[in-house]
């Protein structure tokens, strides 16, 4: 499969997965909550293209897209959201606390940033050239522990790529009401170079990420990648307070899948769409048929 087709497929897998979550939530098959990645798929796919074995990824509440782009198992993720025994964390974590191989996520947003920084520092102390990629949104940047972590990352040269997916809305609060100053400026204040890009094009994001990751890996220093992006769906489910026209405008101008589609011929797109739909539907059905966890798993 060409790179273009692989990226298209990777984004489509995330899109269909998240649509299935939102579609099926009202039926009661999922327990808890969710935060979907619809509209931001190009970020995970474009960035995680460039990691390799040994690298770690720390994600946040909006982690499904990151997890799938990392190579995580779709059935295991469905099962985790259903609270099944086959869930990637056996049903303990749910939607926003997942771990597989070197992928981690936590729903307390700023909290993960020093932990990811420590993971990067561990690589430097061991003398390897593994790196860490950590995702945060603009909303998380209100939590002060992030700035403690950036200071230490710069002081101790932790090889970490800090990715800010700036969708300019924190749950329902627009960025104008929550953030002063500039996001790149917040990194540069600590001597952490920030590469800023406003794009939903997976190829552009991939190019920017490859540069930033090379700096982190070869230079052994922290870097930031700030992406202006768009959240098409609600923060969680049914809690979007934005006017419908505003969301329609985002779809019309910045859908990563539509932007990338022109690079593939229509027949191939159709073929990939059928394959992905089949994969998602099988993963969902398999997870649904999976057993509930042994209750001992709850307290052990």
């Amino acid at each position: 499969m060409s790179d273009a087709a692989a990226r298209y497929r990777a984004m489509l897998r995330i899109r269909r997965f998240e649509e299935t979550i939102l579609d099926k939530f009202p039926t009661g098959v999922f327990h808890g909550t969710t935060h979907t990645y619809i509209g931001q798929e190009a970020n995970a796919v474009g960035i995680l293209d460039h990691i390799r074995e040994g690298d770690s990824v720390f994600s946040n509440h909006r982690c499904h897209g990151h997890f799938l782009a990392y190579g995580g198992d779709m059935r295991g993720l469905f099962a985790e959201l259903m609270g099944k025994a086959t869930g990637i964390c056996g049903g303990r974590g749910g939607s926003q606390h997942i771990h597989w191989r070197r992928f981690y996520s936590n729903g307390v947003l700023g909290s993960a940033i020093p932990v990811a920084t420590g993971m990067g520092l561990a690589g430097r102390l061991r003398g390897d050239d593994d790196i860490v990629v950590v995702f945060m949104g603009d909303g998380a940047m209100g939590e002060g522990v992030i700035y403690e972590a950036l200071n230490m990352a710069a002081l101790w040269r932790a090889p970490v790529l800090y990715v800010v997916e700036n969708n300019r809305i924190a749950q329902t609060t627009p960025i104008e009401l929550a953030m002063a100053g500039s996001i790149p400026g917040r990194f540069e204040g600590f001597g952490v170079p920030a590469l800023a890009i406003a794009s939903s094009d997976v190829d552009e994001i991939s190019l920017a990420a490859s540069k930033a990751i090379a700096e982190v890996r070869d230079g052994g220093t922290p870097q930031a990648l700030v992406i202006d992006t768009n959240r098409f769906a609600p923060h969680s489910k049914g809690d979007d307070t934005r006017p419908e026209e505003a969301i329609e405008a985002l779809w019309a101008t910045s859908c990563p899948i539509e932007i990338h589609a022109s690079r593939l011929d229509p027949i191939q797109r159709e073929q990939l769409a059928v394959e992905v739909a089949e994969e998602v539907s099988q993963a969902f059905a398999a997870a649904l048929a999976d057993p509930e966890p042994d209750v001992e798993m709850g307290a052990a």
Binding site: R92, H99, S111, V115, G118, M119, A122, A149, M152
Partner: protein
């Protein structure tokens, strides 16, 4: 002759020598200063690459240490004053205590957070508190306090070897206590395992009659309770057994008391808990609740703790708020008299 401080310092030296994965992080831990209370003295000279002095960023460096632990290293973090644990609460409660469990149970988080609690130094309301009770009952977190009756440095080394996270509660005045204090030469001590690797030391006056009272305590207050024990025996003919516990949480297996404490209570039917933290919702409340829930007999019960007040700076005011030997003796006397009556 050695002090609690020397034992802890030797424990850290031993752990760093034995295992290259052990790292120290904290504020002002480098030589020649060697930490505000000198527990880390000499480490940065002996292991310059593995002792990292941090900015004043308690939450941040506990998070960084968690990342090191998730990556297979064994960080030991110093929080300069126990009062500052409020700053690390999110990292402890929503982070490091849960990562092992919530990700399915296979991950290890070998991380020790050491910190000195306690007053009697006149440091005032934000540098004198005993706050470990805020971290009792946090699933996934072990809370330990060393005891001068056993082996503080050995407990610290065992905590560093623990695959899970440990909050290691030291005490400012306990640092200077001697492990073989001649003031305690009339006491005899039996040590047994409390839970895991922590121990319970059962302390009594040698040759004394059968004890009427069990005192449960930990850390520096256990040593004060031993002073009270001697005073009661010689001046009041009240005979007691002190159970000095090293592990505050989990307290005992699934809702039970530690065995040493249950054994002593069976004999005395009378329990006095002693702690330096504030009285309300304290460690003693859980010990008492478990004693009542699990004891077949009716128990006499009392608790000694600090007043429910901030810790004042003035020597006179501070002494009026924190429990000392005389407060323990007074409470014991009252409890025993009530039972006799």
């Amino acid at each position: 002759m050695s002090t609690v401080l020397e034992s802890l310092n030797a424990g850290l030296h031993g752990a760093m020598e034995a295992n290259e994965s052990v790292y120290i992080l904290g504020e002002d831990v480098l030589d020649p200063y060697g930490g505000a209370f000198k527990v880390t003295r000499g480490l940065s000279t002996a292991y310059p690459d593995r002792v990292i002095t941090t900015p004043v960023s308690e939450a941040g460096f506990v998070g960084v240490a968690t990342g090191l632990a998730l990556s297979g290293l064994r960080p030991v973090v110093e929080i300069m004053f126990g009062d500052f644990v409020t700053l690390i609460t999110d990292q402890v409660i929503n982070g490091l205590s849960k990562y092992g469990w919530m990700y399915g149970g296979a991950l290890e988080i070998p991380l020790v957070i050491r910190t000195p609690m306690g007053g009697r130094r006149g440091y005032g309301p934000t540098h004198s508190q005993t706050l470990e009770k805020l971290f009792l009952g946090v699933p996934g977190l072990r809370v330990l306090a060393p005891s001068a009756f056993t082996d503080p440095g050995g407990l610290l080394r065992a905590a560093i070897d623990d695959p899970g996270p440990v909050l290691f509660v030291e005490n400012k005045l306990q640092y200077q206590r001697r492990l073989d204090d001649p003031a305690f030469s009339a006491l005899e001590t039996r040590v047994q395992v409390q839970e895991g690797y922590a121990t319970a030391a059962t302390v009594g006056v040698a040759g004394a009659p059968r004890p009427q009272l069990t005192i449960a305590a930990y850390g520096d207050m256990a040593e004060r309770a031993a002073e009270a024990q001697l005073k009661m025996a010689y001046e009041l003919e009240i005979f007691s057994e002190l159970v000095a516990l090293e592990q505050l949480d989990p307290l005992g297996p699934s809702g039970d008391l530690p065995r040493a404490l249950a054994d002593s209570l069976r004999q005395t039917g009378c329990l006095l808990t002693v702690e330096e933290g504030t009285h309300t919702h304290g460690w003693g409340a859980e010990v008492v609740a478990r004693a009542v829930e699990t004891s077949p007999q009716k128990l006499g019960i009392a608790r000694v703790a600090a007043f429910d007040s901030p810790v004042p700076a003035s020597r006179v005011l501070e002494a009026s708020v924190l429990p000392d030997v005389d407060v323990i003796v007074g409470a014991a006397q009252k409890l025993v008299a009530a039972l006799d009556g």
